[in-house]
């Protein structure tokens, strides 16, 4: 017989071991599906690995995919720290993409264009996140529901835009006009797609970590998230903290969209994000809401995504496996988180 006992403290090495355990459990659980699809489990995972992390080109491709998830992962981690349940990173990303595409299409010097794209994208994402935050602070509307539903609103607004005014009149495809060439983010390694936005994402993570751990705003975010009443009595303006958190979170998610427009697609289309906003939730949870952990977590999910496509080509296992792995990883992590609050004890040793 086993049972759960409440822990009084969590050892630090848990932060490392738990996500690894969750990932291991995920791969084991998903191997059943691969076997069901008639492929060899080891071969399939092998293909996934080499295609995503096997050589330097593969690694750059994985990093390019990881970049938007680093941003959305940071967005979610910051929000969840304050217990602002932002499930809307997807919509905020799309808003950021549209805004930066709009700015990027205006002719101007390249560096200025890139800067303005980032500003516009961040502002658009922040504006979208402001909606659920305001609804919650003012009218106690559940932020999970409002931020989630807003994703659909933004998505269909984007569709209306690219099916309507932005539609490519020449080809008739529902895609926006491209941004100016000068606004394309510079590629850092010749022959790859590794663009400036990836570096920005890698720099953003330690910056956000610093903000959470070392600034008064970060302190207020943490305290508000853990105990809003104590925060209020302690002189913290809880509503203001929630709004600030939402703005920051939305801006980060918006930057994910900026990177996709400026560094990868150079325009906006309906599938500009294969759910990077939702993946950000998985990333943040795997990282245990630690901004530094967001980077490896995002790289893991990116590797699964790129790897799954290659595996699908090589072994015939449907690429949807990537989504299953993501979902399973989230569940496994949620289960693993139980062990931070509880320990398992064997009972029956009494004699």
């Amino acid at each position: 017989m086993f049972r759960l006992e409440v822990r009084t403290s969590t050892p630090a090495w848990f932060n490392l071991v738990l996500p690894l355990l969750a990932i291991a459990a995920t791969l084991i659980l998903c191997s059943g599906l691969i076997a069901l699809a008639g492929a060899n489990v080891f071969e399939s995972y092998g293909v996934m690995f080499t295609a995503s992390l096997g050589d330097s080109y593969a690694i750059t491709e994985t990093l390019v995919r990881a970049a938007p998830m680093i941003f959305t992962g940071l967005a979610v981690a910051v929000a969840f720290r304050a217990k602002f349940w932002n499930i809307g990173a997807e919509g905020q990303l799309l808003a950021g993409a549209v805004a930066s595409c709009f700015v990027g299409a205006i002719p101007m010097p390249g560096p200025l264009a890139m800067l303005l794209m980032a500003v516009a994208g961040a502002a658009a994402g922040a504006a979208v996140a402001l909606v659920p935050a305001t609804l919650r602070v003012r009218f106690k509307v559940d932020d999970v529901v409002s931020s989630l539903l807003l994703n659909s609103v933004i998505y269909y607004a984007l569709m209306a835009l690219i099916e309507g005014p932005w539609k490519d009149s020449f080809s008739g495809y529902p895609i926006s006009p491209p941004i100016e060439d000068s606004a394309n983010f510079p590629v850092l390694i010749e022959g790859t797609r590794l663009h400036l936005g990836v570096v920005a994402a890698l720099i953003a993570a330690p910056l956000i970590w610093f903000l959470i751990v070392r600034t008064t705003l970060g302190f207020r975010i943490r305290v508000t998230g853990e105990n809003p009443e104590a925060a209020r009595y302690g002189g913290i303006h809880v509503e203001r903290v929630l709004i600030s958190t939402a703005l920051l979170s939305g801006a980060l998610a918006g930057l994910a969209g900026v990177g996709e427009v400026g560094g990868v697609h150079f325009q906006v289309m309906s599938d500009i994000s294969p759910g990077y906003g939702y993946s950000g939730i998985v990333v943040a949870m795997l990282a245990r809401l630690n901004p530094l952990g967001v980077v490896p977590a995002a790289i893991f999910l990116a590797a699964v995504m790129t790897g799954a496509e290659a595996m699908s080509r090589a072994t015939g296992v449907p690429a949807f496996l990537s989504d299953v792995i993501q979902g399973t990883a989230l569940l496994a992590m949620l289960v693993a988180l139980l062990f931070t609050a509880y320990r398992i004890r064997r009972v029956g040793a009494i004699r």
Binding site: T216, L217, V223, E226, N227, A230, Y233, G234, G235, I236
Partner: protein, 503 residues
Amino acid sequence: MPAPLIEMRGITKSFGAVKANEAVDLSVAPGEILGLLGENGAGKTTLMNVLFGAYAPDAGEILIQGRSVRIASSADALAAGIGMVHQHFHLAPRLTVLENLLIGMSGKSGRIDRAGGLARLAEIGRQHGLTLDPNLPVSALSVGEQQRLEIVKALFRGAKLLILDEPTAVLAPSEVDGLFSALRSMAAQGLGIIFISHKLNEVRALTHRCTVLRHGRVAGRVDDPANTTSAAMAQLMCGHEIVPPARGPSTPGGAVLILDGISTSKHSGTALRDISLAVHAGEILGIAGVSGNGQRALAEVISGVRTPDAGRMTIAGQTVSRFSPREVQALGLGRIPEDRMTTGLVTNLPLADSMVLPRIGTSTFSARGLLKPDAIRAFAEEQIKAYDIRCPGPMTRAGALSGGNLQKALLARELAFDPKVLIVSQPTRGLDIGAARFIHEKFLDMRAKGCGIIVIGEDLEELLVLCDRIAVMYEGRIAGTLDSADATIARLGLLMTGAEAHG
């Protein structure tokens, strides 16, 4: 002595390096009320959790009516006839009283016997005076009623032994009498009861026998509590004598806190009606009253979280204009709340964070938006040392501290900045007499330094020991203010019922 109903033998339980219980023996006979005493952290709750199956002991055995049993879960405990009323209740707030009683009571058929439940509830109510409206949702019950429901729940499941962990800490003095008569009536029917309390006069009035724990071990037993002095019991608990602090004469200075005609709307709880009072430097003013007569609203207004509809408040000569916690703190108000875990500390974060929370924006702990982690840590370490807060260090989760240590942490945090006014609610609730004594001493020190202190409390004896003047609240008004030299429990009690206010 009749054969014991329950016997615990040689129970040992450690949490890491902490030996919470060590070779503890304890027994309860049918019809007996056993007091379980000990300082904060002596291991009372742990021992009872072992008995109730929440923790597996590292060593030792439990016997029920002479037979060794293994209690691996609370379900086992309930099946063995052991019921427990925890310090924090375990009720479903949206369900009704009856539904809460019937949770987990469906028979093998899976059917729920509402009619039978109603009949049992009525019967228990008649027998022990534990009446409850079966159709009220739990969220509508007072704390005392919720506790009653927990007791009835245990009886419903056929408890032969009832454990009550500090049941009176949450009750108003008037509710305590009702609880005691119910407990006596249950004992008269052969139930065994284990009663935990830090209030020795209650223990002397109620229990037949006591077991005293100290540092996890049995320090001694008291066979005749009614005829044992509180001082002797305290000595057993602490290992040394506890002398009540002496309140010397005070020389109050000018008023440091003035409330002038403060009224609030009945937004939640009792509204305040035209409250005017003044606290002077070097004075301790008590606010007595049956709980629910506006004390909470008063504390909220003074703490700056509630803006009154009318009236003026002045702290150290400055009029409070916007009523925010930050403003009143900046004017020199310190606050020690009654609910340490909810409005005081942040249980899931390191203790150091809670200790600097109200002053995080000041230049001591931050500059230009950046924290000063070394200063924060040093401050916490310093206070931990100065107040002898028992914990592994400033980075310990605040929630892992015992009640007495949490209270010391709050006290340290507020007193470190020499407040001009201190507002305190139920300062020693749940604390052992040694810790309570320490807290009282600190208040008297602050008073000597010229701080004006308001103590909101229900324990009249405590107020009489501590306060220079005592104001009594009744229905949101100050019913009267007595000099504590002229105040007696009887006169205060009369004011608390509103008698003089109407007469």
